[in-house]
Every structure is written in C-alpha cells, then in structure tokens.
Amino acid sequence: MANHKAALLQGTLDMLILKALSHGELHGYGIIQRIRQLSDEMLHVEQGSLYPALYRIEQKGWVSSKWDVHETGRDAKFYKLTRSGRKQLEVEEASWDRLVLAVNKLRQAT
C-alpha cells in the first residue's frame, strides 16, 4: 500500500459510520473527519460514498437526522445514533472481531 492507508473492506463502512456517531451527533463532513481521526489517519473513505451509505443506514432506522445550523452559520444535516443503531454497532463489532480472529488463525496456521 503505497500511501500507507488501508483500503476499506466491503461492508465495513456501515460499522465505521455507526462507530463515528457513537460519540455524538455529527454532520456528514464531521463523520468523515471523525473516522479519519479515530483511525489515526490510517483509514481513507472516499468522501462522497459516505452519503448513499448514510441514507441506507437511516432507512434501516439505525440513525436519525435533522437539519440544524452549523457553527459556520450554514445549514447542515446532523445525524444521531438511534437505540437500534447502537445495538447494530455492537453486532457489527462482534462480527468484525470474529472475522479478525478467524483471519489471524488462518494466517498463523501456515
């Protein structure tokens, strides 16, 4: 990996979004920043692809959104984790852990 950034595994974006929101309400740009920050700048998300994923998650009822005034005075849409979103985060994290464990075992077996 030339730029030392991990490519995003399919399906993990949902988990990252939920994780980013688990610390509080954010708008879309904020979510990207939070992911970058939490991963020590290691994870790179194509910024635009956040939105379709976000809408899908919202339809699943894991996050809720509302328009509010951003600190810069512009309108921004803020996203918030719902209770079922919090549960989903736990589920995804657990399954992620299992995956990591399995992959590691596989690698050590060689």
């Binding site: 740009y29 939105y51 379709p52 339809q59 699943k60 009822g61 810069t72 849409k77």
Partner: protein, 884 residues
C-alpha cells in the same frame, strides 16, 4: 429495514422529487465547502482548495444519483415509466385489453361480492359488545333435538347454579297488537328478563334499559322500541320516551329506543317468524315451572371458554334430570357461541361459494395468462431488442409484471362495479335467515380484499408469460424477424396446460352445481302432504282485551270463515294455529293413552299439537284416511274430539284401530280425555327432509287459540282474493290487525330460499366458469390455427379435404377437453364430498350428474373449437404457403 422509513422516503422521492434532490445537494455542497475551508486553512490557494475538496469527494453527479436511488427515487421513477409504457401497450392492443379486463372484472367481481357476504356474516364482529364472549343457552331433548327451548324451572336452576356466566338472560318472542289512533298492526315482541340488553352490551339511544322496578308488576307496563318501529309508527318523535302507547289495547309506557340494526332474532326458535320490533319485561318469577319456551343468552366470565360453559351446563342439566325425572329425565343443555347460533348453518355453504368463486378467478387468470402469452409472441421482437440493448432479464420481467398489475387493477375497478351489482342481486335472492345481508356492501375491508385479489391475480397471470417470454433465445428472435418457432411452441404448450386446468376447474364447479340443482329439484318434488297451489293464508290475533272469552274468539273466526266461504271462487276455508313451515317453538308435548298402563317417568309418548277446524284439511287438501273430519258442531262447541296423523297412528297404535281411542294430551290444566275420531294424512310442518312426526289436531273450541291463521283455497289466483277478505275482516272489527298475507306457494318458496340461494349461485359460477373455459379453448385453438397456417395450407395443397382439416382441429381441441375433464372429474370425486350436508336425495358422487356435465362440456368445447376449425378449413393453400 424500517418499512415506514422506506415508504416515507420513497413517497417523498416520488411526489417531491425536487425537494429530495435539493436536500441531497445541499448536504453534499456543505461537505465540499467545509473541506474547502479546511484546505484553505491548511494553506492552499482558493482554487486549489476547491479543486482538492471536489477531488476528495469523488464524482458528484454519480454519487447524487446513487443517493437518490437509495432514497427510492429510482425505483418509483422506473415504476412510473413502466406504467406509462404498459398503458401504451394496453391502449395499442385494444381487443386484448377489453377481453382481459372483462374476464378479470367478472372473476374479481364475483369474488368481491361473495367475500362481502362472508365478511359480513363470518368475519366481522357481530353488532354486540365483545360478541365473542356472548353465547346462547338451550336444552337438548332426550331424542337429541338441539336448541330446544328451556322450561322456566330449568332456567332458574341455570341462573342459580352456573359459575360460567357474568350474566344470563331469558327471552321469548310473542306477537302483540299495536293499536291506537292509527291502523292496528300485529308486531313481534321479545319478552326478556332484566339483564338482556346488558348481556348483549347494547345501550338504547334514547331512554334507559329495563331496571329492577320494571319487573315488579305482573302486567307488562313498560316497553322498549326498535329504531325501525320508532321511525315507522312514531315518526321518530324525539320525546317518545315517557309516552304511552297501546299494546293489545292496554296502555304501556315507552322507556327507550334501541339503536338502528339492533336485533336478536333466532328464527328457528322464534314463535313469531320475524324479528322483534319491541321489547318488554319477562316476569321470570311469575312464570310457572314447566312448558319449554325460553331461550337463554349469556355473557361468559373472562377466561371461561364456551366449551367450559357447555360442560358446566351439561352437569347442571344432569343434576336436573336426577332431581326431577318426571320433567327432565335425560334432558341435556348446550351452549352455542353467538356466531355459531346465527350463522352456523350458512358457514359451510358460504366458504364453499367463496371457494367456487376462487375457482372462477383461477380460470379467469389462466385465460388472461393465455392471452398475454399470445400478446407476448407478437412482442417477441420488441423484447429481444430491449434485451439486446442491455436490459437484464429481471428488468424485463418487472416491466411485464407491471403491465399485468396494471391490467389486474383495471380488472379490479371493473370488478368493483360488477360486485356492486352482484351484491344487489345477492340481497334480492338471499334467504330469510340472512337478515343481516341488508347491510352488506362495498366497505373498506371488502375494498382491501378486492385490491389484494387484484394484485395476487396480476402476479398469478403475469408471471408465467413474463418468465417464459424472457427465456427466449435472443438470437433466434432477432434473426427470424420475430417469428421464433421455439418460443411459439413452448407458448402453445403452456397455453394448453392453462386450458386443461381451466376445463378441470370448470368440471369441478359444474359437478357441484349439477348435484345442487338435482337435490334442489328433489327438494321441490318432495310430497309435503298437502297441495300448495291456490292457497291464500293470513294471520289474525284477537286481542284479549276485547275477546277475553273463548266463545267470542270461536264466534269471530266462525263468522269470518262463513263469509269467506261465501265469496265466489273460494273452494274451502279453514283455520290452523301454526301453518306448515311457519316456524314456531315446535316443542313436543307428552300424552297418555287411556286404558294403557302408565309408562315410567320420562318415557311418556309425545306428540306435536295443532289446533284446526274441518276446513283446514279441505283447504290444504289433506286427506282423511280413516274415521271422519270434525263435524259442524265440533267446530263450534267443545266436544273433546281430536284427529291424529298417520305417523301418530303408526307409532302409537301399530296394528290397532285408533278410532274411538281416548288420549290425554298435557295441554290442559286438568286431565282432559279426548276421543280420536279420525286419521289424516301426514303433513310436513318443520322439515322437508326429516321423517314425519306424530301430530294431534284439536278442534278450535277444545283448545281455543286467539292466534290463528286463515287458510283459503281458491279457484283462481289466491293473491287476488286477499283485499276482499281483508275488507270483510275490517267490517267485522275495524281494529283487528291482519299480518303475513301470503300464498302457500310463497311460504314454501321462503322455506326453500336457502337451498335456492346456494344452488343459484353455484350454478351461476359454474356457468361463468364454463363460459370462461370456452373462451380459453377458443383462444388457444385460434392461436394454434394461426401458428399452423403453413402446415394446414400444405396439407390442403397436397390434397387434404377441408373436412379432414376441420376434424384435425376439432380433435386437437377435444383432446385438451378430454384431458381436462378427466382431471376435473377426479378432483370432483374428491371435492363434491364437501357438499354432502347440502345435498338431498343424491349422492356426492352421482353418475348421472357427472355424465350430464361431461356431455355438456364436450358440446361447449366443440362449439368453441368450431370457429377456429372453420377458419382452418377456409385457409387458401396458395396464400398460406407464400405467407412467411
């Protein structure tokens, strides 16, 4: 997925497309702006900052489209596009659309109409509060006669001993004369104990229900009116409560008016033959112990099931049987859920009818699927082009299914129209016991059902053609200029399968209808023991206030009869207390034969009782088989004489001459030996089917009823005589109400109405099924001839006779019919058993019926094949061979 989030988003996307896209844009713009700000802060130049921000964001247009798709915009836009396209296709193929929509409309309409009845009677809650916890309570006679009325003493023991009921009320129907300043009228009144309305959970709309003080006097001094009576006789006066009206010439105070549609009418056990229009208090405390005439209605305690209540009542009845064997030996009790009570006997026929219309709808589906297949053939090229341009198979199937659903919805709309007409028709021919049918209509649940049926139908008939068409080999279709033979052959095979199934379904329906028609004919031909033609009947009830003494009552009827007999065209006239098939309590009464040892308690012989005069037997043509009819003096003074019917003689005097024997029937306050002077023919009074029961006829002076039915035999049209007889009665007593003016044929027709209802409907559906199948055969044969034009042309060119071609096509059609018929007959063997309870005098598998319908179906399919076969015969070989 939270469906409501999804639905909200999709609807927003559809209806407010701009807003949704604008939302997405605003959100993404802010994102880019913020990133630009950050880049600026990091020291980039404004242009560079902007460019970098956009680059990091990705392809804005593509992302917006994907985002909009997620929000559901794409899907609904596709749907709209498919609908527009589908509509164009349907408009283009007008003939196809007309036939398909008509077929579907008939199928869906019939379904909706029957479902509206099923919903009303079997699914919708009954119009009482928590009706599922309301039950009726009856006795069961030792002979196993169900829903028998209860005696007051037994009812009192139920009240005292039960632990199942929150409340238990008794009711009994009676007739009463409403008199006053207007034309007198005889009404049906329900006498009920205090907790009656409370048990049913229905409150009056005006005034109050009965309270304890209403029960204190022996006279019925207060009454509750039905909404209908209040409107009809009292003009809906708002201040009616507290006013006095006259019932049987006695003043009674109106204390309440019930809501419209409130009714508690159990026809089978009502002595009045029609729903009550007013209610009064039944003074249970003052009733004697014996005589069975009460019905019970109860509300179950929470958590008690009808079965538990039933077994408790049986236990109580067993105790009564042991404690008072003289009256109750082996008498049982039973509890019926209310819906079972009201509609138990129509449940099965109704489900059967719903099943039958389901079959009709399936046939309609098969027909339309067949039509769609031919349509698809002509669109093969179009579909192939779409596929070649990159449309996935799923996408094309979706397009075709959208068309089918559009078609189904059009059919559904037309179906609603048909259903509306159908419901009107159903109400017209509905049997008497379906009193609630008046309120059947196109309500919300019914409309939802129609929608559901339409959608299922659309998928059902659309899926096979859609899948089949898209399975085609692209290359073949394009290469051969839209005439891929392979696709057409498989089309034809599928269409043949459809036609075979249609015929099979039609056979099942025809078999069912045939059996019902046959048993209906049998029912009508049963010997009733009397002649129903040219007989006029009307009911008179003399009020006790003016006719308190027996001789007055007897004299009044004598006078009317004398004058009626003097009318020209009157052959005979008589009176009876209960006409055949009038309804009534129909409880048997015990008796003893004088000179025979007293039988053990509970085993006394019993008989039904009627009161009549000599003219009754003449008017109905009931023969006197032995002995003699009542004499003139016996119809005027009590002479202690009676006639018995043949069943009585056979059952209680086998091998003996009953004439001159004396019996004591427990109808009187003291022992009253009565001499048998004659034996008359058996008459069917209650059931057309059951065995004849014993009857004893008392003469009117011996057992004087003030409630009698006039029975008049005429030379000509009996109904024409009615006004003259009415005038005559009015001239004798202007205050005397007359009710139930009917000819005996009308009485019988009402008796048969239920059987007629089932038969008529099933026959109608079977007819519809046959018609639709014929259309199906016609369609597939027509299609087949079109496909085989070249082949047939060739045959004709090398010397085949047109006759041979005709036979060729007919044969092909008949093979389809035969296969369908065999399958159908096999299914009919299995399914007509469901009809067994509705059949009379014919087995569920009846060779004659099955043969008849087979022949009928073969004739129909020959007719359906004939037009295409003629067309094949007329093919011009030259043109056919050139035709490519």
């Amino acid at each position: 997925m939270k469906w409501h989030n999804l639905l909200r988003d999709r609807l927003r996307a559809l209806i407010r497309r701009e807003t949704v896209i604008d939302d997405i844009d605003r959100e993404m713009r802010l994102h880019v702006d913020l990133q630009t700000d950050a880049n600026l802060a990091a020291g980039m130049s404004p242009e560079e900052a902007r460019r970098e921000a956009l680059r990091a964001f990705g392809n804005v247009n593509k992302i917006r489209d994907t985002a909009y798709d997620v929000k559901g915009g794409g899907m609904l836009e596709t749907l709209l596009q498919d609908l527009r396209y589908g509509a164009r296709v349907l408009v283009k193929h007008k003939a196809f659309t007309t036939v398909a929509v008509l077929t579907l409309g008939l199928g869906i309409g019939a379904n909706t109409a029957i479902f509206s009845v099923v919903n009303e009677l079997l699914l919708r809650p009954l119009p009482y509060r928590d009706a599922s916890t309301i039950v009726t309570v009856w006795e069961v006679s030792p002979e196993g006669r169900h829903q028998n009325n209860a005696s007051p003493s037994n009812f009192r023991s139920w009240l005292a001993q039960n632990t199942s009921f929150q409340s238990l009320a008794a009711f009994t129907d009676t007739r009463i004369n409403l008199t006053g300043d207007f034309e007198p009228e005889e009404l049906s009144m329900q006498l009920v104990t205090l907790p009656f309305f409370q048990t049913l959970g229905v409150d009056p709309i005006l005034g109050r229900a009965f309270v304890a003080s209403d029960d204190e006097t022996q006279k019925q001094s207060v009454t509750v009116l039905s909404y209908g009576l209040w409107q009809r006789r009292f003009g809906g006066q708002p201040d009616i409560v507290g006013k006095q009206i006259k019932l049987n010439d006695l003043p009674v105070t109106v204390i309440a008016v019930m809501p419209p549609n409130f009714q508690f009418y159990i026809q089978k056990r009502s002595g009045t033959g029609r729903p009550a229009e007013l209610w009064s208090v039944l003074p249970l405390r003052n009733l004697g112990d014996y005589g069975r005439f009460l019905g019970g209605v109860a509300r179950l305690k929470p958590g008690v099931s009808p079965e538990q209540a039933n077994s408790e009542m049986k236990t109580i009845a067993a105790r009564r049987s042991a404690d008072d064997p003289q009256h109750n030996l082996n008498w049982g009790a039973e509890v019926l859920p209310l819906r079972e009570q009201f509609y138990g006997n129509v449940r099965r026929p109704l489900w059967l009818l719903l099943g039958a219309v389901g079959f009709v709808l399936l046939i309609a589906c098969a027909n339309v699927a067949g039509l769609l297949l031919s349509l698809a053939t002509s669109r093969e090229k179009e579909i192939a082009v779409r596929a070649a341009l990159g449309a996935r198979r799923g996408r094309i199937v979706r397009q075709l299914l959208t068309e089918s659903l559009l078609l189904a919805c059009l059919g559904g709309v037309l179906g609603l129209g048909f259903a509306w007409l159908g419901i009107k028709g159903l109400i017209l021919i509905s049997p008497r016991e379906l009193v609630n049918l008046q309120s059947v209509g196109l309500n919300v649940p019914v409309m939802l059902w129609t929608l559901l049926v339409a959608v299922i139908t659309g998928v059902l008939f659309g899926l096979t053609p859609a899948l089949n068409v898209t399975r085609l080999n692209l290359n073949d279709s394009l290469k051969e200029g839209g005439k891929g033979e392979g696709g057409q052959t498989s089309n034809r095979r599928i269409r043949s399968v459809f036609v075979v199934s249609e015929i099979a379904l039609a056979v099942v329906l025809l078999a069912g209808a045939g059996l019902l028609v046959k048993s209906f004919i049998n029912l009508q031909q049963i010997d009733r023991g009397f002649n129903t033609d040219n007989v006029l009947t009307m009911v008179l009830r003399l009020p006790e206030s003016r006719y308190s003494k027996d001789p007055q009552v007897i004299g009044f009827f004598r006078q009317i009869l004398e004058q009626t007999r003097a009318f020209p065209g009157v052959r005979a006239a008589g009176i009876v207390n209960f006409l055949p098939f009038y309804g009534g309590l129909g409880s048997a009464t015990g008796f003893t034969v004088l000179g025979r040892p007293t039988p053990p308690p509970g085993q006394e012989p019993s008989t039904n009782v009627r009161v009549a005069d000599d003219g009754y037997f003449q008017a109905l043509g009931i023969p006197v088989l032995r002995g003699r009819n009542f004499s003139q003096t016996e119809t005027m003074e009590p002479k202690r004489v009676a006639l018995i019917n043949e069943a009585f003689a056979r059952k209680y005097f086998p091998g003996e001459d009953p004439i001159g024997k004396r019996v004591d029937v427990a109808m009187f306050d003291k022992p009253t030996p009565t001499e048998i002077v004659g034996v008359v023919g058996n008459v069917r009074y209650e059931s057309l089917i059951d065995d004849y029961e014993p009857y004893v006829y008392f003469s009117h002076p011996d057992l004087t009823y003030s409630f009698m039915t006039l029975v008049i035999r005429t030379d000509g049209d009996p109904a024409a005589l009615a006004p003259a007889v009415q005038r005559e009665i009015r001239s004798l007593d202007p205050n005397q109400p007359i009710s139930d003016i009917r000819t005996m044929n009308q009485v019988m027709s009402q008796t048969l109405s239920r059987a007629r209802f089932n038969t008529l409907l099933l026959a109608l559906f079977a007819g519809l099924a046959t018609l639709l199948s014929a259309v199906g055969i016609f369609g597939v044969m027509n299609y087949s001839v079109a496909l085989r034009t070249r082949e047939i042309g060739l045959r004709l060119a090398i010397g085949a006779q047109p006759r041979q071609v005709l036979l060729l096509i007919l044969k092909q059609g008949l093979i389809l019919t035969a296969v369908g018929m065999i399958l159908g007959l096999a299914a009919a063997f299995a399914l007509t058993r469901l009809l067994s309870g509705l059949l009379f005098g014919v087995a569920a598998v009846d060779a004659a019926t099955f043969t008849t319908i087979s022949v009928l179906l073969i004739l129909v399919s020959i007719a359906a094949c004939y037009v295409p076969a003629r067309r094949a015969m007329k093919i011009d070989p030259l043109r056919a061979l050139r035709y490519e």
